[in-house]
């Protein structure tokens, strides 16, 4: 049983009216129409999804963008239901990575129901699919409580799960540190890239730093990051950017 969750930015928006009508018709034609739930201000997305799962929903499909996915990710992963998406509007990086085309074309991908089980990352209990990034990284990382890694100059950090360059099905995350290194007589700065595979790590900073988990801002001095191997069932398209 399918549940379709409409984000509030696409409801009552004339820009998406026609596309929504096409999507609803196509879902009916394909025989995968289901319950429609609508997000709204003051309505908790996670509670709505939990209610639907209690009623027997086995596949949750969001209509929206990366922000919509973030609103329901924790509850989808915890409940173990299959997750799908119909990307609408801007900011749909995750859909691109998963090979889901925008708008009505996504209905056929849902109908084909190519379900993959992928790893899920967690930062301070908040789940992420793609990556955690720290644009201004001035902190130290402890890897699996065994060794410490820190940049000796200005750096940026990415912890990747599904990014096009990492495998989201290997039970590992990948920490990428890009540090500025000055070279030559003119002391020109180049970015040198370090890559460390990991299952868990902790970022500790003396002052609060900004961390983006799938684009969502978090601030703090400590971030515990780990991977949940094969933690999420997700519908992907043929054009997905990763290999299993």
């Amino acid at each position: 049983m399918y549940c379709y969750l409409y984000d509030d930015f696409i409801q009552g928006n004339k820009r998406f009216e026609k596309e929504l009508a096409l999507i609803e018709n196509r879902l009916t034609d394909l025989g995968i129409a289901g319950k429609i739930s609508r997000l709204a201000l003051f309505r908790n997305a996670e509670e709505m999804i939990r209610d639907e799962i209690d009623k027997g929903v086995t596949t949750v499909v969001v209509l929206g963008n990366d922000d919509t996915i973030r609103k329901v990710l924790n509850v989808v992963v915890e409940s173990g239901v299959v997750f799908g998406m119909i990307p609408i509007g801007p900011k749909n990086k995750l859909a691109q990575l998963l090979g889901i085309p925008e708008g009505v074309a996504a209905c056929d991908v849902l109908s084909a129901r190519r379900v993959e089980t992928i790893d899920i990352g967690s930062v301070n209990g908040r789940k992420f699919i793609s990556e955690v990034s720290v644009p201004e990284f001035r902190a130290e990382i402890t890897f699996e409580e065994k060794f410490r890694v820190f940049p000796t100059s200005t750096a940026e950090l990415e912890v990747r799960n599904l990014s096009g360059e990492s495998n989201p099905c290997d039970g590992m995350l990948q920490a990428v540190i890009r540090a500025d290194v000055k070279r030559g007589l003119l002391r020109r700065s180049t970015k040198e890239e370090s890559i460390l595979p990991l299952q868990s790590m902790t970022i500790r900073a003396e002052k609060p730093i900004q961390v983006f988990a799938d684009g969502e801002l978090m601030e703090g001095t400590r971030f515990d990051i780990s991977v949940e191997s094969m933690g999420m069932k997700i519908i992907t398209g043929k054009e997905r950017t990763f290999e299993t």
Partner: protein
Amino acid sequence: MFKKSEHHMAHAQAGSETIIAQGVKVEGDFKSNGDIAIDGELNGSLATVASLHIGESAVIHAEVSAKNAVIAGVIVGNIHVEDGLQLHASSNVTGDIVTSRLSIAEGAVVNGRISMNGKE
């Protein structure tokens, strides 16, 4: 000469490679089941059951063990390599070496005992 691009390319083909580039420092017990390439700094211990590449700019203060190793940087500490060890011209090792096969380029500096197949 041991070029960074060569070992980056080699590692791109491997499974779970680790690269410690310039501008990054590691402290503690660093262990891996995959290949390791280091151009940065490391203090502590360093072990892998696969291949180890120490680049020209690397500075390592550690006990080192690996299956195979290519060294072009500075190591202060004992080195135990199960199969083959290559010391490039730019390498500078202060510590004892135990290995099965050894290749030393002209210009390489070794201050320590060398044992091969467990024999001094």
